[in-house]
Amino acid sequence: MLLGAAWKRQKFSVCAIFLMIAIAALSLFTAITLYTSGTASVEDKMDRLGFGDFTVWVSAQPERLLAEIAQTADVESAIQQEIIYAGYEVNGNHSDNEGQLIADDGTIPYHFIDRSGESVNLSEIPVGNIYVSPAMESMFDVQIGDTIQFNLSRTNGRKAFTVAGYFEDAFMGSSMIDMKSFLVNSEDYEEMLQIMADAAAIDVLGRSGAMLHISKNPSSGLTDTEFYEALQEHTELARYMDFTYRKDSILSYMLLLQNIVAGFLMIFSMVLFVICLIMIRHSLTLVIQQEKGDMAILRTMGLTGNILRSIYVTLYGGSGFLGVVLGAVFCRMVAENIAKGMVTSTGMLVDIRTPAGLLFGVFVICMLVLMAAVFTQTGKILHIAPMQTLRETKSAARVQSPFSRRYLLVHIAVREVLADRNKYISLCLIAMILTVFLSVIGHMGAWLGPNGEGLMNSFSVAEHDLGVQPLNQTVPMDEIERVINWYSPVVEQYELAMQSVTVNGQEYTANVLDDTRWFHMLSGSVCDDDSILITDTVAREMNLEIGDTVRVSANGRMGEYEVSGIYQCANGMGTNIGMSIGGYARIDDITGYIWCKHYILENGSVRDYVYNYLEEHYRGIDVHTNSWSGLSGIVFVMHMLIVLLYVVTAVIILITVALVAGKLLQSEKSNMAIYKSLGLHTGKLRISFALRFLIVVLGGALLGFVAAGILADPLIGVVFKRFGIGEFAAGFSMLGNIVPLVAIPLLFTLSAWFYSARLSWVSIVELISEDGE
């Protein structure tokens, strides 16, 4: 009976807390499910496709290499998978990277899928058809029925395919990976090999090659790095390989977007949980204060403090329990939908598996924290002394604040806040937390920029608007530069070569610049001919510090270099080093067509026009902007995520205001009625009520503004380090600093004003007669 009565009075608060906890738990469990499922699922699929621990891409001597590798100690297996490398065009876009064509001859169990990632039965790929990763949609807007044309040789060497569907490419499928695999019929594959064989050597554009999938013996005591070093030492791998990827690097690429989403959800759920705890504290404090009298009467009737406490523990603890259960029940469904929504970015559908043990552990922790909060707050019930409480009269704190007719509403608001400041602490804290949260989101949005500039700059070696790499001596670079200058004057230019090297035996990309001041330095000094720069990722992976000496080799030549500094380049998840042209010249030939000229334009907005013009009018060049094909998809998802989190924050604010305002109005009914009876119009009372929220929330938002100024960049930096972005600095921005400072108080104030409409519906008599002094 008592529980029923308490439920009747508290149902709104209890339901609101249940809702917030359910959202928080749903986000948390979804993030965990998504993260663990993603890793396990991609790993399984990679194993099914035989990726091994490493896959090495070669374009010469695969059989010889394979034999050498197979004889190396600690190698469990080495499998060769033949491929054809060829540039391609699709929907009017010429791909910056070669595609790799694979014959679906049944030896590798590829899965065919539809646009949403669900399995599709296909016994054999028909001749003339091609199957692609769903990520091709976000990269090149590829749809079923489109034509993809591969350039195999200059003389009648084009082979066109019709896109017939999608396949699950577990290690090249993500939109984060530029190089894409294509599945074709064996007959078509043979025909392409024939086209290349028939063409004169000078005209051949495509090339045959292979992927060598290498697995380490599980009983080997070598680390992956040591194993890889051993392979390089005992085989001619370094001489013939194009590039190589470790399993964990591929996992990072494949799941980049999904992990970002999971990270966002995780942070959001943490914020929401803290808000829930504050709200539980706030609600219980006010409820106990308001119902102290009734509790005192019940205690005089013989009810113990523990029985009274159990009522509130049941209500609030129960709502928390149900909320967490709801989150646990629906997390799988939400995770599945998120995974489906990201198929065109991840390139495959992640199989969602519920990590039951982990979720149960998190469930228990959540419940322990919630119950601890409820128990702590309801402890006050035990200390209610019946007679003393009944004798107590309503009191208020004596505070001094001015009163004048001109600012009467403000002065009333200030007095109410100062007199009952304990009631507003929770509101202030929540405003602070939400401001920090929105600032973090805003900092990311500002850094990301409208076109993903932040991401582009972090992933590129150095800033540029346009890059042009001549691939042979016939390219008229003078004329090309005149064209570029016609669109916009070139402000700066430098040259970059991206070459494959090994550092202490580990494969990395060397970014070689003719002008080293363009490197994004984080610490130390710029490299010279005897030194190199490394990223945070390389420093972590190889346990290197500034001042250490490393062996760098390329094409069989090796040199020793000192690490002079740490620089920022997230390309390849940060697995790269920076070198000067003089430094690289010590170990490799620098006279080939390896140099890409980078231009910074006075008017960067014309870069796409220049790109298109050069693509259409010149052959033998590789043109690119400071972007990559999958970027727009990622930027779109990130922007949507930011919008979604703003919307969810607005919903949290609405719920918070409803909870706080409901309790405040209840406790201040009497004062409101008195002001009304004195002739203060309801409209003015509502403004004064909303002003209280403005005052308190503005205070909290200012604290949040300061905290975000100090914490936002380092906090994001910690998360971004995982993705190879060594340093995050968004700096001061409208979106990251000003918008949250304005949006949070505004949303709270407007919500409070709307919520206070209930003041209009209640008569003074009702207000006065309900209140007891």
Binding site: T393, K394, S395, A396, A397, R398, V399, F403, S404, R405, L408, R415, E416, L418, A419, D420, S670, N671, A673, I674, Y675, K676, S677, L678, G679, L680, H681, T682, S760, S763, I764, V765, I768, D771, G772, E773
Partner: protein, 253 residues
């Protein structure tokens, strides 16, 4: 002072009906409150006397009938019009003092002036000080309602009610929660205010309080069943008491 002969109604109600659910609390009551009168409404619990006060003051909208304050109709008036009436023409004293809990007694009085009176801010503060002095609140003026006695709080409530020089002062059981000494103090205040020409409508079931009025109405089942004029007895307390007692006994009190 006795102004009943002038018969200028400050508020007049015709056929006022008020219902709560199926219960008819006011049953077509017609009543006029005259300027300068100290009208007392008596009746048993549930007779409708407080409801009548709330309807006449516009705090509750009557379900039927017409109520006029001067030329302005209260029944059907908008919230804005009623707010203005409360600010400019009405003063209220309740059984529970209903002072703003976080304002001192002085600030409570000032607040009423800032909201309602047409006085300048300086004059409001000056008048509030004068009223506090008149109500013998000098020592308690800077204290919060929770820090003063019931009598002091109620005297502050009266001062607040008359701060804007209202056309009529509505009082709903103003002594209901006070002890004998405080009751006397507050009633003396009402008498003094009446003597200075303040129109008062007092709802009470306290005979002592009723004795201060010059016109007593008795309500039963939502109707005025009897009316007594005490003005002819002037300040002769014994005669007034005797008359009132006999009248009430006649009504089965």
């Amino acid at each position: 002072m006795d102004h009943t002969k002038v018969k200028t109604p400050v508020i007049s109600g015709k056929n006022i009906v008020q219902t709560f659910g199926q219960t008819k609390v006011l049953n077509e009551i017609s009543i006029e409150i005259y300027d300068g009168d100290f009208t007392v409404v008596m009746g048993t619990s549930g007779s409708g006397k407080s409801t009548l006060l709330y309807c006449l003051s516009g705090m509750e909208q009557a379900a039927g009938g017409t109520i006029l304050c001067g030329n302005q109709e209260i029944t059907g008036a908008s919230e804005k019009e009623l707010t203005k009436l409360r600010a400019d023409k009405f003063g209220f004293v309740f059984q529970k003092t209903h002072l703003v809990s976080n304002l001192t007694l002085y600030e409570n009085i000032v607040m009423s002036g800032l909201i309602g009176s047409g006085l300048g801010e300086k004059d409001v503060r000056k008048r509030a000080k004068e009223l506090a002095a008149r109500m013998n609140l000098q020592d308690a003026a800077d204290r919060l309602p929770s820090q003063v006695s019931g009598g002091e709080a109620q005297r502050a409530a009266v001062a607040r009610a008359v701060m804007g020089d209202p056309a009529i002062l509505f009082a709903d059981e103003p002594t209901g929660a006070l002890n004998k000494a405080n009751t006397k103090e507050v009633l003396n205040l009402f008498t003094k205010l009446h003597e200075k020409g303040q129109t008062i409508l007092l709802v009470t079931h306290d005979k002592e309080a009723a004795l201060r009025g010059n016109r007593i109405l008795y309500i039963e089942d939502g109707r005025v069943v009897s009316e007594l004029a005490l003005s002819e007895y002037g300040k002769d307390k014994d005669a007034r008491e005797k008359k009132l007692t006999a009248w009430l006994e006649g009504l089965g009190w």
